[in-house]
Symmetry: C2
Subunit: 446 residues, 2 copies
């Protein structure tokens, strides 16, 4: 018996996991390589950052998910380089993996548009660690405000700036609005959490710029009812310990004084994606996306498939597909079928076609916007659709039940069950933040 066709999948996100699962019954050997031991339900990461969910509730151990799949092994490792001629992927620990077909699904990372130094003051929201760090900062800001006697300083601790008005920024802002107006109500004695200022800053002229315009307006109105201010048409020019500066279209520069800034803006492709582009010389577009063939292979490399946030694919009208879970998942299933057909000996297969089920963003309890199968929804009905869809796509049944319970309590009591300041004793953090702010102020005075 000849050796089986070796499929190597880089990345255990929505794309990679779906590809692996779709190859369950195929006569191939599958190896899934990921840096982490768990699949993360990224669209709900902002709920970890706002204390509604625990990381474990939106993460599924990849081994657990694929454990019963006999043709599949899971490798904990980070792909750092590729030799497309030798059909080998190099891992960070010096070992390498050989493939007959390679599925690259290593996704995207945050980008600070060349200002990586901003990340110190404006953490991103990409990993579990990012989310617990953001949670730490948000909760600690209220705690510090409670302790700081100076009104100006207190106001800065109660101002939250979110850079980026896409789905993550909008959902994060909505959750912050709920925290200030509902969850923390009556919990403090010196401050009124509902006095918090929550500001979303974005360069485009409307929120959720990839959504239909009417939904953008509705999202803005729903956010406003939770006390969220929207600063549109502003490019952020500086982020530091005291807040941000932003430039309007007319060139005016505005400052927003705030001690808490969260980065929900720019996106860049993964490091491995960049390395792949370099080694294969394929054309890249926008923020480095790899231009792929209609069957999601790299031009000139029929054995390398690129799916998800990494690939530049357009729909029938030439509009590029968004970097969302749906696109990655459908890409994963599609390439699994292409590989299966090839192994069977049928090499011609129809090109990838994305079936757009819609787009959804939740703002708060009973508030959301959705475009579902072409229909524009908002408010309570959109919120129900959002709930249903998100519960449906959580990988593990167990997590689905846990998330449902957390949401049930959130709905009934506004309580966010996972409001933990971790990483360092909260009291030490207060001392540290107050001290850091003192230093910055001292430096500015001198």
């Amino acid at each position: 018996m000849p050796d089986k066709h070796r499929v190597v999948i880089l990345g255990g996100g929505f794309g990679g996991l779906n590809a692996a699962q779709a190859l369950n019954q195929a006569p191939v050997d599958v190896t899934v390589v990921d840096r982490r031991n768990f699949h993360l339900f990224q669209p709900l990461l902002y709920q970890v950052a706002t204390g509604a969910l625990s990381p474990g509730e939106i993460a599924a151990p990849i081994r657990g998910v694929l454990g019963g799949q006999k043709n599949t092994r899971v490798l904990l490792g980070e792909a750092v380089d590729i030799d497309p001629k030798a059909r080998q992927v190099q891992l960070k620990d010096g070992t390498s993996v050989s493939y007959d077909s390679l599925i690259v699904a290593t996704g995207s990372q945050s980008s600070y548009f060349g200002h990586d130094e901003w990340s110190e003051w404006a953490p991103p929201l990409k990993s579990v660690e990012d989310a617990t760090m953001v949670r730490h900062r948000i909760l600690l800001a209220f705690e510090t405000a409670e302790r700081v006697p100076d009104p100006a300083e207190r106001a800065k601790w109660l101002t939250f700036v979110i850079v980026g008005g896409g789905p993550t920024g909008v959902e994060l802002a909505g959750a912050l609005g709920e925290i200030a107006h509902h969850t923390l109500l009556h919990e403090f004695r010196s401050i009124r959490p509902e006095d918090a200022k929550i500001i979303v800053v974005d360069g485009s002229e409307r929120l959720l710029s990839t959504y239909p315009a009417d939904l953008s307006q509705k999202a803005e109105r729903q956010l406003a009812s939770l006390g969220v201010t929207t600063y549109l048409g502003r490019m952020v020019t500086c982020v530091d310990a005291n807040g941000i500066s932003a430039k309007t279209k007319t060139g005016e520069v505005e400052h927003i004084q705030a001690h808490t800034v969260i980065w929900a803006a720019g996106v860049a492709i993964s490091e491995f994606g960049r390395q792949l582009a370099k080694r294969t010389g394929v054309e890249t577009v926008r923020h480095g996306l790899l231009k792929v063939n209609p069957n999601l292979t790299l031009p000139g490399y029929p054995d390398i498939f690129v799916i998800g946030d990494l690939a530049y694919v357009t729909d029938d009208k030439g509009k590029p597909l968004p970097g969302v879970a749906q696109v990655a998942m459908q890409g994963g299933s599609y390439v699994a079928r292409v590989i299966e057909k090839r192994v069977e000996g049928t090499s011609d297969f129809k090109p990838f076609r994305y079936f757009d089920k819609g787009e959804l963003a939740v703002i708060g309890r009973g508030a959301a916007v959705a475009k579902v199968f072409g229909a524009h929804l908002s408010g309570f009905i959109a919120w129900l659709v959002w709930l249903f869809i998100h519960l449906l796509y959580i990988v593990e049944f167990q997590s689905r039940v846990l998330v449902a319970v957390e949401w049930g309590f959130l709905y009934l009591t506004w309580n966010r069950g996972a409001r933990l300041i971790t990483g360092q004793a909260a009291s030490d953090s207060i001392a540290a933040t107050t001290e850091a702010a003192d230093k910055v102020r001292a430096a500015m005075r001198s």
Copy 2:
């Protein structure tokens, strides 16, 4: 109207929280000071360390719990010193809090018997950060074993040593046994997780030395059925990257080769407890416990109450009370009543008497030992009692439901829903651990 009697409670653990809640209706001003923003259900921390529960599920935000209590404020801060004459507690950030009555409930910390350097190789299990760190090490050990080709090295990655045969050590060992024999089954391709060696080392002649002897034996037998070995009458003399050395009663020194060691042994009083003893000059016994009056006040300081793990209190037969949640909780309620009576003008109140409801330790699914109201139970019935009691004492109803769901799935599927390797990409950790082990080996050879 004169100012209200000021009660300051240091620590939001079982003792402090119970005291605060018992003062709900009292005509006093209550201030609860804690380093963390959450109350932690410590007896279940080992379940976080073994991936069964998420930290958020066993933590309750102190503000959330006490938010509705109008006479109470919560202060995020760490008490570092006290001036008992001026009735003032100094916090780490330089501020101070004045009291009329002080309740000290700052609890205990881990002790390495003067060998703090061991903590690098044998992390303790006291905080949420400790638990996620231990979880990281346990899961990563299996992942590393899967990658390491050398059989001897692989065996060391598959050996887990738990130092300490008290309730935490026993419960941790049982959970590890279940992970190896059930949870991880079929998830690896190069190793068999059930080959893992789990060893509990303790200085005394039996496990759970504070329990009745028949229950100790039953616990040992139940652990053995999960593949856990028990090394009793051994004092640990060394811990490093390669494992531990232990001395038997006859003076023989044994080495256990292992890359994962967890510290569930020694206990010491909190830093503030030590400072309090110094400032008041009260007598301390055993590992620094403060000897208190029958009404839990410090001798010579009728306005300072000490409760929980910090206090040395004996029962009718002169036997010291154990450092468990029940003792702390009952102490908290008791001193709340004493203070309330005093404020009312009745200063004589009956001495504190601990009502011993029993002791419980769980070993695995359907396996536990319990002494409940004098009866000795083991096996399934003890397990049911354990489940019921633990769910009952979880502070938030929401957490209770979440924990029940997690346990339901654990029971039905052996799945542990929170198996996340966090803190650093797992692949980096593998590289780091392998490298560190290489270095140690190289150093030993030279």
